[in-house]
């Protein structure tokens, strides 16, 4: 079974922007609402993707200057 990782973001807007950036790099992601144990402030969103892409995701988002709150899983 594919292991999934999550990049958590400060907002839905940033999450969608990140998804667009990753999509243009051919990295497939899904927007997910984070569980309570994944966030300390309540409602938050992240992008779920295959952990095999973790390094690529980090590289693309860093290159675009998109801030990730934290990475979960992997």
């Amino acid at each position: 079974m594919m292991q999934t990782c999550i990049a958590a973001f400060t907002s839905m807007t940033v999450a969608i922007g990140a998804q667009r950036a990753l999509s243009s790099a051919a990295i497939r992601t899904s927007v997910v609402k984070l569980n309570a144990n994944q966030t300390t402030h309540g409602c938050a969103y992240g992008l779920e993707f295959s952990c095999s892409q973790l390094q690529n995701v980090k590289t693309v988002l860093a290159a675009r200057g998109i801030q990730v709150s934290n990475y979960l899983g992997g």
Binding site: T10, S11, M12, T13, V14, I16, G17, R20, V31, V32, K33, T40, H41, G42, C43, A44, Y45
Partner: protein, 389 residues
């Protein structure tokens, strides 16, 4: 329904492009979930539609981060957010002598409560040889040590007089003064690049020359600028926190956004970008010149600052109060606006008199024939008036 000649586009454009109507309809029929509140299909689709609108607006106005586009109901709301969110007690503000009440009233209200002070700088609209240096010099003369903000209309909502925005932006940035631009009459017509023009906060309507529906507007703020919030509430994120998030746009967009409206605005901005502001401007300026020439050839017509070519022309029929003339035009199926256009400062500057004036505002959907119908009707109204008196 009889044929309407609509010349009140400075108030709101009508009609809207087909693509705008279709986008709103599609949103309402297919995906209008609550944006930014869930990760289910319809909520996400709505959030993505809003993101697309943010992106389109950011590209149009030269903003690098779409998160810096904050959606509002209109320009007035955006201006209030910028003015009240950025000013601090004791600040001094400069506004121009052509400002709409959307600028004048919030600034005056803050001053009346003793929070700030303000001065009005002359734009020299009626000066035949006015130039940028003259305007900047007038601004410089009013600067105080505590001057923190300059708020001004890019283009007057009365007479098409425009300010040299890039030069004012540079002037303000050099002096550490925040530059807030009211683009109510210029967004979608004039070139606006917030980064290049050093605009700290741009306030624009969605429902005028961006061809979106009413209820749409935006505030674009500089990257490193944080404002106090005007309203607080649900933002869809950080729900356990006592305060609003400290990052845009969610910090400033409490409550559910109007997804259908923003889907329409996105289509409207796309429409403008497809046509190109240069082409839109050229078409409206041609209509302006055409009407100015015809009105100039009529007896008993006073034009106000007609040398400022643009999309809006202000005039009066001598001896006929503007509201009376507008009512007579309405009976003939011609819609335009009479009175003071929420701009008492501007009317005072232009000396329009006790009844204000008549205002024609063009859009890309107007044709020279609209001008001809208007001028013919004005001639009839003058004739009727002269016969009665």
């Amino acid at each position: 329904m009889r044929a309407i000649v609509y010349l009140d586009n400075a108030a709101t454009t009508f009609p809207k492009p087909y693509s705008v109507r279709r986008a709103i309809d599609r949103c309402l029929r297919e995906y209008c979930g609550n944006p930014g509140r869930s990760a289910h299909a319809l909520s996400l689709a709505a959030a993505k539609a809003i993101y697309d609108c943010r992106l389109e607006a950011a590209e149009l106005f030269g903003i690098a981060s779409p998160e810096r586009i904050i959606f509002t109901y209109n320009t007035t709301y955006a201006l209030n957010m910028a003015i009240k969110g950025l000013l601090r007690r004791g600040d001094h503000v400069l506004i121009s002598d052509m400002e709409h009440n959307a600028v004048y009233r919030p600034v005056h209200a803050l001053a009346a409560f003793g929070e700030i002070s303000y001065d009005i700088f002359p734009t020299h609209c009626l000066h035949p040889n006015r130039n940028t240096e003259q305007i900047l010099s007038s601004i410089a003369n009013l600067i105080r040590p505590n001057t923190r903000m300059l708020v001004a209309s890019h283009v007057s909502n009365l007479c098409s007089a425009a300010l040299p925005v890039a030069e004012i932006g540079h002037f303000c940035r050099e002096r550490g003064i925040l530059f807030v631009l009211d683009a109510a009459q210029s967004a979608g017509i004039e070139e606006i690049n917030c980064t290049q023009m050093q605009i700290d906060a741009l306030c624009a309507p969605g429902h005028k020359a961006l061809y979106g529906p009413q209820g749409s507007g935006l505030l674009a703020i500089r990257d490193d600028l944080t404002m106090a919030t005007l309203i607080e509430g649900g933002s869809g994120i950080n729900s356990l926190d006592d305060f609003m998030p400290d990052f845009p746009p969610e910090r400033y967009e409490a409550g559910t956004l109007a997804t259908p409206v923003l889907a329409g605005l996105h289509a409207g901005i796309r429409f403008v970008r497809d046509r190109g502001t240069e082409s839109i401007r050229a078409a409206e300026h041609a209509l302006y010149r055409h009407l100015r020439e015809m009105l100039g050839n009529m007896q008993g017509v006073t034009l106000y600052a007609p040398e400022h070519v643009g999309s809006t022309l202000l005039f009066n029929l001598d001896g006929i109060p503007a509201p009376e003339a507008a009512a007579s035009l309405d009976k003939r199926g011609i819609c335009l606006r009479a009175g003071f256009h929420c701009s008492p400062l501007g009317h005072q500057t232009l000396n329009t008199g006790e009844n204000g004036a008549l205002r024609v505002g063009f859009s890309v959907f107007n044709q020279p024939n609209d001008n001809e119908i208007l001028v013919r009707a004005l001639g009839e109204i003058q004739h009727e008036h002269n016969t009665r008196n």
